[in-house]
Point group: C2
Chain length 237, copies 2
């Protein structure tokens, strides 16, 4: 069979607190506080297309890895789980640099609704960058998709919590000031930073660098020393 | 964000015993005897791209629903699980008639190898038509993909075995004659037919029709009476 080009058009996009790749969790459900939504694009904004979704606890997002799509792919990659040093095949990894940059994420379904002509689905445990183009949505079907006795090779275990997260006095005040509009901001920061989002080579160098990252519309500054990360400030951008 | 077209090229295709949509199991892993392979297309036939896959027990096939892609989609569909009478949203179903006709299947990994320049992965529990274009392969990662407490709505339970499968004397002889080359043919036929592959409206009509279906290169004829299906003949085509 001759390989032919297949042309697809996004049906929607992701609204996510994650504005930069740096802090995006490496798989779905690692950060339960990662709340966001899928918004159907205008051509597909029909609430009927989601009828019955409320029967399911989880759904699959099939998405386009837009932030890295231009960078091409290579037959082997170095997964962060192997310390960024050992090579495995691209198809034996979930690395974004793939021949067809498509990702799949099983996320928690919360609710779906229509609001001034927009059709949205609230989800939890998100691991996607803000603006990610969505190609398809499917219900998570436990009898087919959940294989509890599957073996996961080098990604068998959930990545452990590596860091204790503490907040400076200033950061605590900023959390309180924004609690009404962003009630889960503290939990989200804790869950994200405890996983240590730094690239593998950085972790080894025991750096003293101040990091900055954007979550929602906040610029979060933090520093990692040993096994502790201190959130220095949380500023509205 | 303006929706843009995304162009993809298959990386491989499926070699499957299922030559017609009629008998293809409705999800992966319903029919463990559904053995087949994924073959990487010439441009992607690099065995290194699969290095480490043997660490995993299952893998995801992301594929193009080529047999139904031309037929378009509709916002609601009538899943066979609901007797083909109740409508749910297309995104709340795994129906093939989707805006972007992409499917995902978690199948059992058996082995991968290179043979005269071809790169193949043997898999089990397949639910894909022969020749299905493959867009991507990913390892199944239990901590992210397996959600044992997920609820599956109208597709909560595995479809039950509905029919007892018996073989005519002639069919038994044909199985014996082909046992060396097709050792799992009997098991495959039993597993497929016990699920009752007929469309929902047919099941209700208690038909007496003789069905024919192609598996591998055999034409299988069978008849369903009440709760029993009789395999009449198994002929090499």
């Amino acid at each position: 069979m001759a390989p032919q080009n297949i042309s697809l058009k996004p049906i929607g996009h992701v609204n996510s607190p994650y504005k930069q790749k740096f802090v995006v969790p490496r798989q779905a459900n690692l950060v339960s506080a990662g709340l966001g939504s899928i918004e159907l694009n205008q051509d597909y904004a029909d609430i009927n297309s989601l009828r019955g979704m409320e029967q399911f606890s989880h759904l699959w997002i099939i998405f386009f890895l837009h932030a890295t799509a231009e960078k091409g792919w290579s037959p082997t990659v170095q997964p962060p789980r192997l310390g960024g040093k050992k090579r495995v095949g691209v198809f034996s990894s979930r690395a974004p640099y793939r021949p067809n940059p498509i990702g799949i994420s099983a996320v928690e379904y919360i609710e779906h609704y229509e609001s001034s002509g927009r059709v949205l689905i609230k989800v939890g445990g998100l691991d996607l960058l803000d603006g990610t183009p969505v190609l398809d949505l499917k219900p998570y079907i436990p009898y087919a998709d959940s294989i509890p006795n599957a073996s996961g090779g080098y990604a068998e275990e959930k990545p452990p919590s590596k860091l204790v997260v503490v907040f400076s006095r200033k950061a605590e005040e900023e959390l309180i000031a924004n609690k009404v509009n962003y009630p889960n901001l503290k939990e989200l920061i804790v869950q994200l930073l405890t996983l240590d989002p730094r690239p593998a080579w950085r972790v080894k160098s025991q750096d003293n660098k101040q990091y900055g990252v954007t979550l929602y519309d906040f610029n979060i500054k933090f520093r990692i020393e040993g096994k502790q990360t201190t959130v220095i400030s949380i500023r509205a951008e």
